[in-house]
Symmetry: C2
Subunit: 336 residues, 2 copies
């Protein structure tokens, strides 16, 4: 530990909508001291996640809003370099909410999990072995609960969460239909992630016709990362007792004011269908079960992933807008 | 059996929206012969239900659409007066889908249930002991599953389904909040059905303020018979893990074209809430369990009901528009 400077990305102005690079700035602080029960993390990889938009902008969100002047809340993974907590030894790799910064004095509740898979890249703890993979795992297995042979639609199908959700649906014996944008992502969905059918929502003029072709037996389950027009087209095609897991709303830049659209009630009633919102953190007690399953599938070559690796903390401020541009391919990770 | 004329109410024209008296006509047919396995029902009471709108008008509904020229599909209760089915003896009272007519040749699948509660009025089989009560029972117990102490909101709170749902929520130890229109229905909700708080949606200028006052601890479960503005105001006030049962959409005269409104996804996500459509007929295997419970609560004075009794088959054609006018009080039944 020779460095003495802790670079921090902090919120400079509050956007209504998608946070831009200009809404952040980088400052230099000291290495924080640790109190009894805490430990010092040296971050190795920082995460950029779509949920960050909500953490910053939304009035009604699941976590306290980030205030102007705060170091940006973020998932990251790093090494314990000093510890006053017997459960975390120097050299342990730990993933949690440690912020967009080099160093963090960490309390137990900030930890999401210790990295146990020493044979796999540590950065995966921010993606397929972290929030993305866990979100896909619980969304599919606990909310959608598809049976073999059912048709499962996934939006943002090539993304970190979507690609894992589609592959888990395939592992469960389902027909997986992906919705993504652009020829290269369509190719990834087909060739790397193994979707049975892929809809390019940017190139498709008639979403209803595209879904009719991609889901000849209708839709039994929908992993919804987008809301919007894709969601509405799925609703028109659901089968009896369909399940819709609300995971994200990427098609909307802002929820203030409240977006309008076709009402779902009649479809839910006629089809006896269910729409359910979920957060991965609700399943915290079962992270290790899920991570073990995900790691097993990765080792067996059944669960593929992509990382969109960026270099240096300077890439953090502009990373959230990249997520919403639809340009990034795979899980966006920043290597420090 | 001295009569030889079977009066039938038939569909003369297809409305888009709420069926009016002019969309029906009455014709005289003969008493139908019964085939082996069938039995002849002499209807005593006919039902008018909000769902009839969907049976007639909607392209995508849970039952085949009623065609122009058909005798109107309807629930009714009557007596077996001739039988070629050993399970149904002359004198049995039976409830089922026998149509808006005096006589029906009935096959087993048309039967909803035999009337077993000989100490209670037979017309209750069309209301609190029939579809209404069963719908309330399964909607509350199977979809909403409220715990004692939770706040349950019911729309069309004074109606046949709503009043039973509110009282079942009270029996389960919940705080029941009713939404209804007009001073007389508000009075019924408070004095007869025992709601803890009642919102008069016609008199209230600010639904959000009314819900804030009526549900100081937020809303845990919502029995939605209306959709529309009431639904949206409830969504803004739900608690974590709230459940919304979609039972009816009375606030919309038509679903063609698809109605627009605020999108629910963000609320469902942030609150990890569930919206689920259900039909009572999905629970057919459990009707007797539910009817026995409902009859027990009626006898114990815990479950009150109102009947809006009309006289003669001539009242049938105009009965559906009455349901949607909000004028009827209690379950609309037509005595033949």
């Amino acid at each position: 530990m020779t460095k003495t400077v802790n670079r921090q990305v902090w919120l400079k102005s509050r956007p209504n909508g998608i946070p831009q690079a200009r809404d952040f700035d980088i400052r230099e602080a000291g290495i924080p001291p640790i109190a009894e029960g805490e430990f010092l993390i040296h971050n190795e990889f920082l995460s950029a996640d779509p949920a960050m938009r909500g953490w910053i902008a939304d009035k009604s969100n699941y976590w306290p809003r980030i205030e102007v002047g705060d170091t940006m809340r973020a998932f990251s993974v790093g090494e314990v370099i000093e510890s006053k907590n017997p459960a975390y030894g120097v050299g342990d790799k730990v993933m949690g909410i440690f912020g967009w910064q080099d160093y963090a004095a960490v309390k137990q509740p900030q930890v999401m999990r210790k990295v146990l898979e020493k044979d796999l890249p540590v950065s995966l703890s921010l993606g397929v072995l972290g929030l993305n993979g866990l979100t896909a795992y619980f969304g599919v297995n606990e909310v959608l609960r598809p049976k073999a042979g059912e048709t499962v639609v996934v939006s943002t199908a090539a993304g970190g969460v979507g690609s894992a959700a589609g592959q888990i649906a395939k592992i469960l014996g389902c027909r997986a239909v992906g919705v993504t944008g652009g020829a290269e992502k369509v190719r990834q969905c087909r060739e790397e992630f193994g979707y049975d059918a892929v809809i390019d929502y940017k190139a498709t003029k008639d979403l209803d016709a595209a879904f009719a072709e991609a889901s000849p037996n209708g839709i039994d389950a929908y992993f919804d990362n987008t809301s919007g027009a894709i969601h509405d087209a799925v609703l028109r095609r659901i089968n009896l007792r369909a399940r819709i897991a609300i995971c994200g709303t990427a098609s909307y830049a802002s929820w203030d004011p409240w977006n309008e659209g076709p009402r779902p009630e009649r479809h839910l009633l006629v089809k006896r269908a269910t729409m359910q919102g979920f957060l991965t953190t609700d399943f915290a007690a079962r992270y290790e079960e899920a991570a073990a399953a995900l790691a097993g599938w990765i080792r067996a070559g059944k669960l593929k992933y992509r990382e969109d690796m960026h270099q240096g903390i300077e890439s953090a401020p502009g990373s959230i807008e990249k997520l919403y541009s639809g340009e990034n391919q795979g899980k966006l990770v920043i290597r420090l």
